[in-house]
């Protein structure tokens, strides 16, 4: 199950979705809005997506993760819009028979999401300025 949403992510419900009788381990990763990047203070992030392509890429990551770890479930949600510090921007829940697989599978899915899915964040700095985060193209670290 993959989803883009503008509503707060219900990560408890997301975690419940992947529980399976054959699986003794569930790992849920949450990405949250951090207040500091280097020495600069973030008050909020704005997320936008190329929605149809983002959903397609997330579905491919879901399929790839399930192919690598066939026994279990995966659910991924990314939030879009204006998020304040501490809010959950992304959640990935994975179930596997054992915990080592569940950690590996969850790590794989979130790493691929950050690498491949056309979603962007814009920093809202404390001084009122804004700046898109494009890793490798501007001074701001991703």
């Amino acid at each position: 199950m993959i989803q883009l949403t503008r509503e707060p992510i219900d990560y408890h419900e997301l975690t419940e979705k992947v529980i399976r009788p054959s699986c003794g381990a569930v790992v849920t990763f949450l990405g949250t809005v951090r207040d500091l990047t280097g020495d600069e203070v973030t008050v909020a992030l704005d997320y936008e997506a190329y929605g149809s392509m983002a959903e397609k890429k997330m579905a491919e990551i879901e399929a790839d993760t399930r192919a690598r770890w066939p026994d279990g479930e995966i659910a991924m949600v990314h939030r879009l819009g204006h998020l304040n510090v501490g809010e959950v921007s992304v959640a990935v829940a994975v179930s596997c028979p054992h915990r080592a697989q569940a950690f590996d599978a969850c790590r794989h899915a979130i790493d691929r999401l950050k690498e491949l899915v056309p979603i962007w964040k814009k920093e809202n700095w404390a001084d009122g300025k804004t700046e898109w985060v494009h890793p490798g193209s501007v001074a701001t670290p991703g």
Binding site: Y47, S52, W120, H134, S137
Partner: protein, 81 residues
């Protein structure tokens, strides 16, 4: 041929529009499209080499050939998560 290119994030802000129409030759490759976009929108020139190009919601290589029916988008370095 005339193609429309979708723009996102900093590309969109620099262009001041969420898409741009450019005229390119038939059999235009992705690498040619970048040059055409840079000519049309000089503000994008610095960012264009860092951008991927998506054809029909799939990342395309520089030598891929555009079709008039393709949905084309510039994908600046992503920062989801």
């Amino acid at each position: 041929m005339i193609v429309r290119v979708r723009l996102f994030a900093r590309c969109r802000d620099l262009a001041g529009a969420d898409s741009v129409v450019v005229e390119v030759d038939e059999a235009c490759r992705v690498s040619d499209l970048r040059l055409a976009l840079g000519d049309k929108l000089p503000a994008l020139r610095e960012l264009l080499p860092k951008c991927a190009v998506a054809l029909n919601e799939e990342f395309a290589k520089d030598d891929a050939v555009l079709s008039i029916t393709d949905e084309i988008a510039m994908i600046p370095p992503v920062s989801g998560g």
